[in-house]
Amino acid sequence: MTNQDTGFFGDYGGTYSPEALMPILEALRVAFREIEQDPNFMAGFLSIMKSWGGRPTPLYFAENLSRDSGAQIYLKREDLMHGGAHKTNNAIGQVLLAKRMGKTRIIAETGAGQHGVATAMACAKLNMPCVVYMGAVDVARQAPNVERMKLLGAEVIAVQSGGKTLKDAINEALRDWIASCETTHYVIGTAAGPHPFPTMVRFLQEIIGREARAQCLEEIGRLPDYALACVGGGSNAIGLFSGFMKDSSVQLIGIEPGGHGIETDKHGAVLCKGSVAVLHGMKTLGLQNKDGQIFETHSISAGLDYPLIGPEHAYLRDSGRASYVAENDDEAVRAFHTLSRYEGIIPALESSHAVSYALKLARQKPNSVILVNLSGRGDKDLAHVKDYVETYHVTL
């Protein structure tokens, strides 16, 4: 590839990183473009995905959930993937790439802990030392995942700066990487960051959309009218959307964390409310004040608690190919319970945002086929949801 490979999606993306990282990002770009074309790499990746990761994940017709509305709601069951979320696709892919590049150490950031767990699992399987940065607030609200990471052999560092959530964990991981980049690979967990990360993470998550499209054609006999996914940084959504990008009949909808409501200052709805920002190595949208200080966001779901967005989503919004809405904390918690009781599936709080919007959409469009990416399972969220329901007296 030439110097034209700058990682821009329209005006978004690119590389905005300290000089110390620039040569390392260039080496990563070259290595990524190699594996992209290398059938041996893909064969190795897919083999691990199958026998160790449990792919392909099923497409499931949520019959009980669909019954009242008349619409047909299908779930792409990424919650059944090894580790309990789609994050495993990206983690295995990047750790394989890091080994190929001769790196000897892996670092990662994590919000809900799913990406940290996925990276810790990948490192255990592929025999690499692993350090995970996690905001101290998230360490407290996602305790089971912290225990899982430690069990898998990772070192978990609780980040005490700023709002002590995902943004701060990324800042700290970037600092580590600036100091250690000659030996260390930073496995960014979402389709964000400097080039080539947004493109590389999408490449590794495209497996979701590729499988889902084929399953829709085979099992439903048609494409869905809507493809829905929750959006924090945007990796599960971009993975799903990529499968349907060229199918203009399929409406792509991303669901953002509405927190206490997007009219308040306690939410994380970047695509609904953000403005152009540069941070974490990319030009994208962000929630910020007039001086360009990035806000701390709020969501009940740690995995969506991020004040920026993967740059390709900003581009898809502006181009009109995808649209983005927000569901608030209460709505996500209700959907968490609804899916559990109707289908016997406990969704991650992140995915519950998409389920909630699917239920609304099903009522508005009773004859439609709605595909929801169920990006993760919700066992990790049980204690947090119980506290929330009691504190805020949520009517279920």
């Binding site: 700058t6 690119g14 590389t15 905005y16 990183s17 300290p18 000089e19 110390a20 990282l21 620039m22 040569p23 390392i24 700066s161 700023g162 943004k167 800042n171 970037l174 600092r175 600036i178 100091a179 250690s180 980049c181 000659e182 152009v276 920002a277 540069v278 941070l279 974490h280 190595g281 962000g286 910020q288 004040n289 007039k290 001086d291 360009g292 200080q293 990035i294």
Partner: protein, 257 residues
Amino acid sequence: MSRYKFIKDKIQNGTSVYMPYVLMGYPDAETSFQVAKTLIDNGVHGLEIGFPFRDPVADGSVIETAANIALDNGFTVDTGFSVIERVRALSPDIPLTLMLYYNMVLARGIDQFFADCHAAGIDGVLIPDMPPERADTVCFAAKHNGIDLVFIAAPTTTAERLDIISRVASGFIYVVTRMGITGSVENYSDQLSGLFTLIKSKIDLPAIAGFGISTPEQARKMIAAGADGVITGSKIVELTTKSMDDLARHTQDMVRG
């Protein structure tokens, strides 16, 4: 005439220049002005002036903590520019280099930002998360307002990248002397003199060493390795809340070299 000529002349006369870093608004606007005044009164050859940012990924924990305190105490970009105007009034000669993150430039509007720099008496701007490949977005506004763009070279920077940097850099080159973040752990890269030789073969600007320097001994090592001068940052932040007398003594020691 660019005020960076002031340091160029010093260097030509055999003086190693000292250009410490002051974080605006830390712990409050008035104290940061007093810090700048103390540094100037004690003979520094230039100042690097930082604007606090909540997410300073190219800085270490000392500056991050201080930046958060400054912002919690009400720092705004407007405050920052008004303090700089007062600092400029203290010395007509020394170059003032503003260091801040790209998002703050973007949020103010690129044209407005560089016009404000010019009005406040800034000579150069260093944006640590804007690589030279992205400088096209600010070059015109900077030039229009007579502001130099200062860039960083790091131990990982290749000869090829120095060519890219040389096309857009002016003022001086900020040489990151070890991988990692600003702070004071003593762990200098062995290949430093090679780095300075390479930079000087490619770029005809003063090469000023920063990151991880806090004592005259460390500064002397940098000069011996080929640096034309040094910047200290975290050390100034640490001394700010101790006493202005300590800060004055430290400055005299550093200026003496």
